[in-house]
Symmetry: C2
Subunit: 200 residues, 2 copies
Amino acid sequence: MAKKIITISRQFGSGGRGIAKEIANRLGYDYYDKEIIDQVAEESGFSKDYIEELGEHAPGKTTFSYGFETHGVPGVMNGMSTLDYLWCSQRKVICDIADKGRPCVIVGRNADYILRDRDDVLNVFIHADEEFRKNRIIEYGETKGDPIKVMNSHDKKRKSNYKHYTDRDWGHSVNYDLCLDTGRLGIEKCINLILAAVES
Amino acid sequence: MAKKIITISRQFGSGGRGIAKEIANRLGYDYYDKEIIDQVAEESGFSKDYIEELGEHAPGKTTFSYGFETHGVPGVMNGMSTLDYLWCSQRKVICDIADKGRPCVIVGRNADYILRDRDDVLNVFIHADEEFRKNRIIEYGETKGDPIKVMNSHDKKRKSNYKHYTDRDWGHSVNYDLCLDTGRLGIEKCINLILAAVES
């Protein structure tokens, strides 16, 4: 049976988001990326801006940051830090999406870890070397500032967030069914490999 | 252009060796696994047993082990430790194989790192969870002792050896073009995905 749920985790600038969208289009699957933010906002009561900015953060290491996160939001919700509460809301939204039963592609948000025990999920990690990603970032012109600093900053947060909430190494092959280097293989080949992996 | 050289790195018991052999058969590529040991023996002057046992080791951390490795072989060859000399011999053999120009599959031996700058190489990492690998080890009955201990011992040495000689994390997706979980995808699907990745 074909995999009903595909999670795409990715390095910044590797093309993972575009690949996810294309896979969803070609398969006729639902697509969840920033759409999840809307649902998490509803679930948690936080603003979309807050969720978008901090959804990939890991809690800081000090009591100060634990109690006093950003935007003046109280540091504790239901007995947990706001970041932990946000993570739990995100987790619930992702589980609900999976349980709905409709085939879908989900981008990021530790969905690979959250859905790791399901047999109907294909967990994919997309990556490429720094040069390839830097050139893509410049080409698409969507990012302000030094592309290398921007990509490293994003990936560092994803890595910390992943480690904190899953105790795993973000991007290590053992955490995914399929890992693909878009720079070495090419975007189109990566799409085709994922489609082949999804088939029964 | 199709990739002419495929390197297969793998966790013990994941089926990587069998996949490598099958890929070589289906593509009509030369196959290098223990065959490399014969060439390294010729190149280095070491015995095949020594190469097979220690080819995946990393040097120990103490001056004692640096000077006095095993089998009574002198601790220093051409100004380097015997393990370093062995690694250099292995590297030369692998480069010579690649430069011959004949399409081939190479198993292990840090070939992915050694050939990393070539455009005609596909670097693959094969892995699976502990349960899958333990069951395969028991099924094939080739390993004596507790399968979990055996697999972890082999992989620990591979990881140390890789880290020591490449300064990279063995099995991390960023070091390979394609990583595949044989337990989750199935052996046959992994073979087909590699064949698809090799094609131009």
